[in-house]
């Protein structure tokens, strides 16, 4: 699957079926700090991702206060 990451913007290719939560764990990303979007639609942590999926992992934390 092709995974788009932000801040900085980059892409990684991964092989094998896995859940959204497993993907985030594998990339050492906190679930509370990110959303996962597939084809413009949000998907929950237990959604299954396949090799042909293109997903965006979007960070949600901003620094201002």
């Amino acid at each position: 699957m092709r995974v788009l990451l932000r801040n900085p913007r980059r892409e990684v290719q991964l092989a094998g079926r896995r859940s959204v939560n497993a993907l985030l764990d594998e990339l050492h990303l906190n679930r509370e700090s990110h959303l996962v979007i597939r084809n413009g639609t949000l998907i929950p942590g237990d959604a299954a991702l396949d090799d042909n999926d293109e997903v965006e992992i979007r960070p949600v934390i901003s620094g201002g206060a």
Binding site: R31, L42, P44, D46, A48, G64
Partner: protein, 321 residues
């Protein structure tokens, strides 16, 4: 083994988001309903404003300010927006486009102020001129200009997009240092006084993740990239620490902040009263201040006299430090 197909807690349809702090998943429709309900609860329980109030939303082009503007309009409130151009290179230019596009698409009024055009400086230059972190002059400039625009425009209240994560992070920082005066003032509503408008935070019951999700579900484009001047600031470190705790103990951020407001803030009421300073009009701009010239006018004098500093020079210095 990959589990498939979590269901919405409300309708049992396919879920689009899991919210561990509610121990539940939601479809798009019922997620939006949850967010609206949380905002209504914040507005009503903290008496933020009424449907007849004239509201000014401080808009940055980021997810939180656009989401709160969208939610308020969706709930039937009359709300205009205020965008302050901070002059942070490409980041500010992109942010302005998101704010303008949002307003134009919905026929909403967006007031714009430019630090460089209207006051002769920008945030990178202010950071260099004052020898302080950029967030310091940024916060000072925005607070002053929000107040000014609200009073000039006859608005009853200024709405900001501060969310639960923002408030919990500030509370965390103030608690680490036992900043009692700051703790005493950390409320979802700051009452109008002495020339300052009322300021409210309707998103205090919603997390950053929920606000980003609101924007995705509602099709709101916002600036996803982080402000280049915020990289490495303490606020981000506090948020990261709190999210580590949240991951292991869902609901901790909400309990930390909302229980502070409910249980601790009332105990600090005396501190609030005793630390209230006597204010007089600034001799330059007339805004309320404790001194002769307000902090904003002092910043304008110093920063506008400084040669413009490109954003890359300031961010490069911060990365090395």
């Amino acid at each position: 083994m990959v589990a498939v197909g979590s269901k919405c807690r409300t309708c049992r349809g396919p879920a689009i988001i899991d919210l561990p702090r509610h121990n539940a998943n939601f479809c798009a429709e019922h997620f939006l309903e949850l967010c609206r309900r949380q905002v209504v609860k914040a507005i009503e329980s903290f008496a933020m404003f009424t449907p007849t109030d004239h509201i000014l939303v401080a808009v940055s082009g980021g997810k939180d300010s656009l989401a709160v503007w969208d939610i308020l309009v969706d709930l039937g409130y009359h709300a205009d927006g205020l965008y302050v151009g901070l002059g942070i290179g490409d980041y500010s230019e992109a942010s302005a486009v998101f704010a303008r596009d949002f307003a134009a698409a919905r026929g909403l009024k967006l007031i714009e102020v430019s630090l460089r055009d209207d006051y002769g400086y920008d945030i990178p230059t202010a950071a260099r001129a004052t020898h302080r972190v950029p967030c310091s002059s940024c916060g000072l400039s925005k607070r002053h200009l929000f107040d000014k625009a609200a009073l000039d425009g006859g608005y009853d209240v200024v709405v900001t997009g501060h969310n639960l994560d923002d408030e919990a992070a500030v509370l965390f920082g103030n608690t680490l240092r036992w900043e009692i005066d700051y703790l005493a003032r950390q409320l979802p509503v700051l009452a109008a006084r002495d020339g300052f408008p009322r300021k409210v935070k309707p998103l205090v019951r919603l997390t950053e993740r929920e606000m980003a999700a609101w924007c995705v579900v509602r099709g709101i484009d916002y600036v996803v990239e982080e402000c280049p001047m915020a990289a490495g600031n303490k606020h981000l470190a506090y948020k990261a620490a709190l999210n580590e705790i949240e991951a292991k103990s869902p609901g901790s951020k909400a309990a930390f902040y909302l229980n502070f407001v409910d249980r601790m803030a009332p105990l600090l009421a005396g501190q609030r009263a005793s630390s209230a300073e006597t204010l007089a009009p600034c001799s330059v701009c007339g805004s309320p201040t404790t001194g002769d010239v307000c902090a904003f006018c002092r910043l304008v004098t110093k920063a506008s006299a400084h040669e413009p500093v490109p954003v890359e020079l300031v961010t490069g210095k911060r990365r090395r430090s």
